[in-house]
Amino acid sequence: MMAASPKLQAQHVWKIFGERGAAEVVAVQDLSLHVGENEFVSLVGPSGCGKSTLLMMAAGLEPISAGDILIDGRPITGPGADRGMVFQSYTLFPWLSVEDNIRFSLKKSRLPRAEQDALVREHIELVGLTGFARAYPNQLSGGMRQRVAIARALVYKPAMLLMDEPFGALDAQTRLQMQELLLNVWQAHRTTVLFVTHDVEEAILLSDRIYVMTARPGRIKREVAVELPRPRNLLETESDPRFAALRRHVLTLIREEAQRQAPSPVADLA
């Protein structure tokens, strides 16, 4: 389901850390992928495979060693408000209330104050935090903090969302709730998403397509289309026999990589 002109396109991207020579680590090697307009694409792979590094490069927060990442056909040169980001860690500003945290991302917006207020209210509702507008981050649970972070990344309407294991630090039950929340929000307000996770079920539930990466140095091992009907929901989708088949398929791919990496984790660095 590739769109005519992809929203995001990575072309032969390399990321090399460290000085040339002995200390050099190839984190991402000749990686190409694309994310279509309003498509939800996940990046999965064994830990340390460079999936978060790729996301940071797409955000413009990490320089690209070689190759290009294009947004709407233009190469990115640095971070910008066209790409919203949600991190795994809690990145809320603890000195601001929930509503002021969400409003913070509208700093550069030229909308009149009244419209900003309306947007903030609407997004507080969207992530199910009605009644918590005046609360401070230290009064919220981990799941609620990530709801605020998602609202803050959506409210200024970036052209696409980059999400780096946003639910990775949450407990299992909260994670399920958040997956359902993101699924519903995305199905109601389609937007382009590149989503990094190590949770295969999460990737299948949410995505249109999944890229499975190799162990380091990270390359694309396989592209997997998730042809499950939408709208999806947690219980029905996960009991679909195609879900189980996809899960086995993706897990097998990741396990191959993890095993290839396990005997000698530094073999590829030599």
């Binding site: 955000a59 408000a81 860690s89 990145t91 603890p94 000195w95 913070f104 700093k107 981050p137």
Partner: protein, 262 residues
Amino acid sequence: MRLLDLRTDIPRRWYIGAGVGFVAIFLLAWATATWQQWVSPIFLPAPNAVFAELQDQAASGVLWQDLWASTYRIMVGWVISTVLALPIGVLMGNFRFFEGLLEPFIDLVRYMPAVAFVPLTILWLGVGDTQKFAILFIGVFFQQVLLIMDNVKTVPRDMIQVSYTFGLSRGEILRSVILPAAMPGIWDTFRITVGWAWTYLVVAELVAANVGLGYRIMRAQRFLETDQIILGILIIGLLGLLTDYLFKWSYRRLFPWALQSR
């Protein structure tokens, strides 16, 4: 209820009672040792002798002159140090260039004893208050810069990076993310360093002073007036405690969001 469980809260009356009780026992031991004449009054005067000295100095006005002179020196010396340490520490915490530029020099200077600068500062600045400010500055500034640098560095990287994705410039992030995030830590640095300024007071008033709490102690030493020495030490301790509480109290007022975090 067990009072000695690891890292467990205890009833408030026990917590406060223990602190008050300890001071009471300390005073009682002092009183007993002196009233029973276990130690000579030359070495350790009795509490009532020190209290009598306090009444004398308060009545003659010496106490108020000393209090004002010393508080003024502490405040000016500490404020000069802080006004310079804040921007420099913020620069060093944010930009590796400034850290590389200044840290080796500051590390060198901060181990130099402030007391050794007394003759030099008199030579350079004369015998007025400026020389006192300079000693307090030397004692506080170099440590303060490094502490503020560390306060700035504790701001999480992800918090800065997420701000870039909202389209903010470096200057805007510095102003509206890094500074507010680092402020509680910096406030604590203020509290600690103003305490250091009090401990440097005697050094600052070591020579070429004719008023001040530190001067009073140095003069009393010459005439072995131990009651004056003890009184001076107690007053400096109490004033240090007072400024400490002022900063702790204002911290809770200014940064309620930083309390009970996590």
